[in-house]
């Protein structure tokens, strides 16, 4: 459970929302995270004392989001779903006389298979005639990243990871195609004209502030609904990735694939595994095998965008316990933001029972020159249990990798690998997929 205190200054506005049933309606519509209002008794008061000594009279209790992910770890379809959910909530809220005070994807999280707002306190009563305060932020953090991929065919994730505040309009107009920015009404309005106004008003130096504008509720709503319609029609035009069809086109035969699925399923059942991190999990085949065997949550981490989009579609249509996350194991998300504590690094967020490192060892140790011992130590640090698939040098994939480089990987062999693993973990079971081929190894971290 997560507890949130409400500042006395925000109490009155929040009470209005609560008493009118706005929060309850948005929760029922599946747009807002579950929220329960708890009266703070004398025994609890000290735990909720704020930095200025204030003690709230009311706190909110929410279910904990099992794995908090960030928009730079989402695929195009995930960010699109978050954008649409955000706009749906804004439209619904406006009809109830409520608005959001910001527009950031960091307040949206996948909960039970769909994107929901997790920051209830962003909601506040609508003031007649007010402008949309979060419009610039929405463009920088939702709209432009989507357009970067839909119009320029460029993945947006590195841009968001490099700038927590999103992509500035003045930068966006330099990378988005002119034909779209001028040739479409939405591009002309939300990007071209908007960027020019932003630049014009950031260049002035005088002190007088004059922003005495207002907007009717009808226009406000129209902005939201038209944006929603536009974003709904956006599709990624990024080039297909190398591994996009890996699930169908790889070096496994049908029997090896089934053997792997059975191994994973048996492992999950025997050890009561509930949460799995599937490193290099591609489109989630073995995560799904784990879910079918009784796991409740499987996070697929991979850096192949197309494979993860496929995993996302599977999570949306059939497996809400599956969560695809963009992650390069050799360059995981770092801690970012103020005091490097606003956005947690990957390892600070892990609460897995087991990790899968299937068809991964050669990519990390040979492809990225990470010594096998270091890879094993990292895997062990992530979770108490795991399944790793050792891919030997005789494997066709590894042979291909070594044709274009010198073989300096003297300790990359199965015997060495198991030796390293045994020094830090107890090997539970080993099964070979084919004679002289890949070996599946399950283990338990030493106490």
């Amino acid at each position: 459970m997560v507890w949130r205190s409400i500042n006395p200054s925000a109490q009155s506005a929040f009470d209005q929302l609560w008493d009118r049933g706005v929060v309850h309606k948005l929760i029922q519509r599946g747009l807002l995270i579950e929220s329960e209002r708890v009266v703070v008794g004398a025994s609890m008061a000290e735990s909720f004392r704020g930095p200025r000594g204030e003690v709230p009279s009311i706190v909110l209790r929410h279910p904990k989001v099992p794995f908090f992910s960030y928009p730079y770890e989402w695929t195009f379809l995930q960010l699109k779903e978050a954008s649409l959910a955000h706009l749906d909530l804004q439209i619904e809220a406006l009809d109830l006389g409520v608005v959001l005070s910001d527009a950031t994807p960091y307040n949206m999280q996948p909960v039970d298979g769909r994107m929901r707002l997790v920051d209830v306190l962003s909601l506040r009563p609508y003031r007649e005639g007010e402008l949309w305060a979060g419009y610039n932020q929405f463009c920088r953090m939702f709209l432009i990243p989507l357009l970067v991929e839909a119009w320029a065919g460029m993945p947006f994730q590195p841009l968001l990871r490099g700038a927590l505040d999103g992509v500035r309009l003045c930068d966006a107009v330099r990378i988005l195609p002119r034909s779209k920015r001028w040739g479409t009404l939405n591009g002309l309005m939300h990007l071209t004209l908007h960027a020019r106004q932003e630049r014009a008003h950031s260049n002035e130096r005088n002190a007088t502030i004059n922003v005495g504008r207002s907007m009717s509720r009808v226009r406000y709503r129209a902005m939201l609904t038209e944006l929603r319609k536009w974003i709904e029609g956006l599709e990624s035009c990024r080039l297909r990735t190398y591994w996009h069809d890996y699930a169908a086109d790889n070096s496994y035969d049908g029997e090896s694939r089934n053997k792997k699925k059975r191994f994973v399923a048996q492992f999950v059942r025997e050890h009561g595994i509930r949460t799995v991190w599937d490193l290099g999990g591609n489109s989630g085949d073995y995560s799904i095998a784990a879910l079918d065997a009784g796991a409740t949550r499987a996070i697929v981490l991979d850096n192949d965008l197309d494979a993860l989009e496929h995993a996302y579609l599977r999570s949306r249509d059939e497996y809400p316990g599956l969560l695809p996350i963009i992650m390069d194991c050799t360059d995981p998300s770092p801690a970012l933001g103020w005091a490097q504590s606003e956005r947690a690094g990957l390892q600070e967020r892990i609460h897995a029972d087991a990790v899968f490192a299937l068809a991964l060892t050669h990519h990390v140790s040979i492809g990225r020159n990470v010594p096998p011992r270091s890879l094993i130590e990292w895997l062990i640090s992530l979770a108490p249990f795991g399944v790793v698939e050792f891919v030997p040098k005789q494997d066709p994939m590894v042979k291909r990798m070594l044709t274009v480089r010198d073989d300096v990987f003297h300790d990359y062999d199965e015997a060495c690998f198991i030796d390293y693993l045994s020094s830090v973990a107890d090997v539970i079971r080993i099964e070979r997929l084919a004679a002289g081929g890949r070996a599946l190894i399950s283990y338990r971290r030493k106490a």
């Binding site: 002035e204 129209a222 902005m223």
Partner: protein, 73 residues
């Protein structure tokens, strides 16, 4: 060449240029870039309201047309 003789896309560009020329006056302020978003929002929302209105009318008209065709079948 008169405005009326221009194609629809050229007319849109001319309108946009006119709007930009009218809007790029200084706002008598140094503020962070979000001010520009507030300044332009009224115009954008107005245009979107017109688009939304036209869309709504079109959907109602098409809906009426579909109902009539269904009745005659």
């Amino acid at each position: 060449m008169s405005f009326r003789k221009l194609t629809p896309s050229w007319r849109m560009w001319c309108c946009a240029l006119g709007v930009m020329a009218a809007l790029t006056e200084p706002a008598y302020a140094y503020l962070d870039p979000v001010t520009g978003s507030f300044v332009i929002q009224g115009l954008i929302a107005g245009v979107m309201a017109v688009v939304a209105g036209v869309r709504s009318l079109r959907e109602r008209f098409l809906g009426l047309f579909k109902r009539r065709r269904k009745d005659s079948d």
